[in-house]
């Protein structure tokens, strides 16, 4: 199987996956009682008496397809609902949020940006720290530095993010007062933004603790993987050759060994996107960081089903995209992968 065949197979798989996610998302919300109950509550509202309004509501929330000449409801079948739902998901029309009555997409914009900022910073930092320390650990394999690094990274890895977040708030926000304990920016900024210098500085201050929490949670995995692949790479003949040529140790480590060992690290970074998102939901909640994860969490309390549905879909979409990208990159970079 050549590269083209491999890619084709991956893309077809991705489409099947997308279909599966849509069906699952539909099934959970449609066949299970939560949303139906919320809609029933809406119609049970004693303030709504006018049959016209009720009819409009019934059409709007998809309970009835239309009304016959006598005014009786023609109920929407599950299939009808699925077709319109499927179309809406593919065209990213998630409807209006039940809480704010704005389109979900419009409410999502600023939150998406916040989430991407947090995730971007945390992923970049954890990759850099994890890879650097992983190389160091592999280079000094068996020494006390190595075992110390591995122990510390296993510890931070096994501490749950919510606990780490609370600890940081306790120590850095509450006792030392160095950083704010939450929010993306001070709430008084609603009244007016300060000048650009203060703006950036204060935003960074707010970003620090959540980013630190996520970074500490992720770098351990990168460190252990880098250590494993680097240890293997360092035993290869071409390393001995490079050393024999008299190349400086830094060149040997980073140009020769790391370059060849980096493939699994890069793919793993893409594949762990789902885990990162899960971590982000919790971290955002702990630090009141107004992102997608916190929104998903709040939507439960508000019984805001369009938002819930949209968030699950978008998050799943991100993960699927990350998987596809990692597959494609892997396929292009590593010729062995095509002949599975």
């Amino acid at each position: 199987m050549g590269l083209r065949g491999y890619l084709l197979k991956r893309i077809i798989n991705t489409f099947i996956l997308l279909l599966f996610v849509i069906v699952l998302n539909f099934a959970i919300f449609e066949l299970l009682p939560g949303e139906q109950g919320a809609i029933a509550n809406l119609f049970g509202n004693p303030k709504i008496q006018d049959p016209k309004i009720i009819q409009n509501l019934e059409i709007r929330y998809g309970v009835c397809k239309g009304f016959d000449s006598l005014g009786h409801c023609i109920p929407t079948s599950v299939w009808d609902k699925f077709v319109s739902y499927f179309y809406n998901m593919l065209t990213l029309q998630f409807g209006n949020s039940l809480k704010t009555n704005h389109p979900v997409i419009a409410d999502m914009n600023v939150r998406l940006l916040n989430t991407l900022t947090l995730l971007g910073v945390a992923t970049a930092l954890s990759l850099i720290i994890g890879i650097m320390l992983g190389v160091l650990s592999a280079y000094k394999r068996g020494s006390s530095v190595d075992s110390g690094l591995v122990t510390v990274s296993l510890t931070t890895y096994s501490l749950p993010t919510f606990f780490m977040g609370l600890l940081f708030i306790l120590v850095f926000a509450q006792n030392l007062g160095w950083f704010p304990s939450g929010l993306v920016e001070p709430s008084k900024w609603i009244l007016g933004r300060p000048d650009i210098g203060t703006f950036i500085l204060v935003r960074l201050q707010h970003l620090f603790l959540p980013a630190l929490t996520l970074t500490l949670f992720f770098y351990g995995g990168h460190l252990l993987l880098t250590r494993a692949t680097m240890t293997e790479a360092l035993t290869e003949d071409y390393i001995t050759t490079a050393r024999a040529k008299g190349l400086p140790e830094r060149t040997v480590l980073f140009k020769h060994a790391l370059k060849n060992a980096s493939l699994p690290i890069v793919t793993n970074a893409a594949l762990s996107f789902g885990t990162i998102l899960s971590g982000a939901i919790i971290t955002e909640t702990v630090f009141a960081w107004d992102g997608l994860g916190r929104w998903l969490y709040q939507a439960i309390g508000w019984k805001d089903f369009p938002v819930l549905q949209a968030m699950f879909f978008i998050i799943a979409l991100c993960v699927i995209a990350a998987n596809l990208i990692s597959d494609v990159v892997y396929g292009m970079l590593d010729p062995r992968i095509r002949y599975e």
Partner: protein, 471 residues
């Protein structure tokens, strides 16, 4: 020879396994930690007399041992006035019966000029900090068919310094039940207003000084002349002082004992982890065996399905399920089980694929064994070791997932788990978190995960021939 043959084979194997496992230092640590948590979980009712929902003391009490770190100044513990004594002035006929620490039956008569009877309780207050709250009580059941009038009152005295009238003299008249009005308690508004108007103190700080002192809580019955045969049953005569420290780990915002919650939380965590993983292993084994051994279309379909489930982000799915289906602990265990088998199924499948080609399977086939027989007798025993490793490594994942859900407040609202302890701490804390409420459950989650991970890696090393060290 005869001696060894008496021991069943599996006992020998188990013993060898245990010895091999414990010779690994990290595995020994893991076993020790795990044993600690199992003891905590099983012996929970013995370790603590309370239940997670019972209110034991005031809110946000620090652990008692904090006095050892920060010194005794400013800290107090729960303490109670000691048992009552009865003193009466001359000229009264008093017969007492049924006396206990907090109650007594009195039969009173007076001649001449009358007199008083004092029921007193004493407290040697040992702490260097004022109590946070106090509750005093007294119940008098007066039985007097002749409806004679006399007065009762209650006092609180800091010996040698000051006396407060905590129950204003009240006229008792006839057969009835009497108790102090307003109630003698520092969290009662009307009681506080009686003593302090616009004062920054609480009455607890006002009455009880932050230093050792002796206090008397006195119930005084004053009889005018010529009272005959009044029967009074005094009960619940006590005063309880609630300090600002409590127990091993202090209390939460509702005055619940954190140590109790922690101990019972171990039970729930282990339950969630083990049952969810059990389900996951069962499903994973089934799918993996079917995919690996039946092959072809079955394999393709099952593995594609597994891949799909693997890609779906776990926590968002859990959140959506909890929001739509329900958040009963049993449901949560089921979600975790039925969405936690995919990795294991793939491992089993690849192992089965390699086993299927081995000569001993071919030999079994040649001698006429069926698919079921081969699967159960030949393939299954060869993947049991994988099961142990997977069990050890997916238990912490289930525990942490449940904790995360509970932390978000999406867990079972009827039980207190380690995750919900952390969630409550954050929700109640606002700007000020109580460290004694956060650190114990957080560390417990980390340690129970660590114990399973250590065990898992050690078993992996034992069972996985590629990783086996040369000795």
């Amino acid at each position: 020879m005869s001696q060894t043959s008496r021991v069943p084979f599996w006992v020998v194997r188990l013993r060898k396994f245990a010895v091999a496992l414990l010779s690994n230092r990290l595995a020994a640590v893991g076993v020790f930690l795990l044993a600690l948590f199992v003891v905590m979980a099983t012996a929970a009712p013995l370790l603590t007399p309370y239940t997670p929902g019972s209110q034991v003391s005031g809110a946000f009490n620090a652990p008692t041992w904090i006095t050892a770190v920060k010194g005794p100044a400013g800290y107090s513990q729960n303490i109670q006035f000691a048992s009552l004594t009865v003193n009466s002035s001359a000229g009264l006929t008093v017969s007492q019966s049924n006396q206990t620490a907090q109650s007594v039956d009195l039969q009173l008569s007076s001649q001449g000029q009358g007199g008083t009877i004092n029921l007193a309780e004493t407290l040697l207050y040992p702490y260097q900090g004022a109590p946070k709250n106090f509750v005093g009580s007294a119940t008098l059941v007066v039985s007097d068919p002749q409806n004679q009038s006399f007065t009762v009152a209650a006092f609180l005295e800091r010996v040698g310094e000051k006396t407060w009238v905590v129950w204003d003299p009240t006229v008792v008249n006839g057969t009835r039940l009497y108790s102090p009005r307003p109630e003698i308690r520092s969290d009662s508004l009307s009681f506080n207003q009686k003593f302090l108007r616009d004062s920054p103190f609480t009455t607890a700080q006002y009455f009880f000084a932050p230093r050792p002192a002796t206090y008397h809580y006195t119930l005084q019955i004053t009889l005018p002349p010529a009272i005959t045969n009044v029967h009074i049953t005094v009960s619940k005569f006590s005063m309880v002082l609630l300090g600002n420290t409590w127990g091993i780990f202090g209390t939460d915002d509702q005055g619940h004992d954190i140590f109790t919650q922690l101990v019972y939380g171990a039970r729930l965590s282990l339950e969630v982890g083990l049952i969810a993983t059990g389900i996951g292993i069962g499903v994973g084994l089934l799918v993996g065996l079917m995919a690996g051994y039946l092959g072809k279309v079955v394999d393709e379909v099952l593995m594609r399905f597994t891949d799909m489930l693997l890609v779906i982000p776990g926590l968002p799915l859990l959140i959506v399920l909890v929001a739509t289906v329900g958040s009963n602990l049993i449901y949560i265990i089921l979600y975790l089980g039925f969405f936690g088998w995919m990795g294991f199924a793939r491992v089993v499948r690849s192992q089965v694929l390699s086993l299927r080609e081995r000569p001993f399977i071919e030999a079994a086939k040649a001698s006429g064994a069926g698919t079921g027989y081969i699967t159960v007798r030949h393939i299954f025993p060869n993947i049991v070791s994988l099961t142990y490793v997977s069990l050890a490594l997916s238990v912490p994942a289930a525990i942490v997932s449940e904790a995360a859900l509970s932390f978000l407040g999406l867990g079972d609202p009827t039980v207190v788990t380690w995750g919900s302890m952390l969630g409550n701490a954050q929700a109640a804390g606002g700007a000020s978190l109580a460290w004694w409420w956060i650190i114990p459950p957080g560390i417990s989650i980390a340690l129970i995960s660590l114990s399973f991970i250590l065990l898992g890696y050690a078993m992996d090393e034992l069972f996985n021939p590629r990783l086996r060290r040369r000795r």
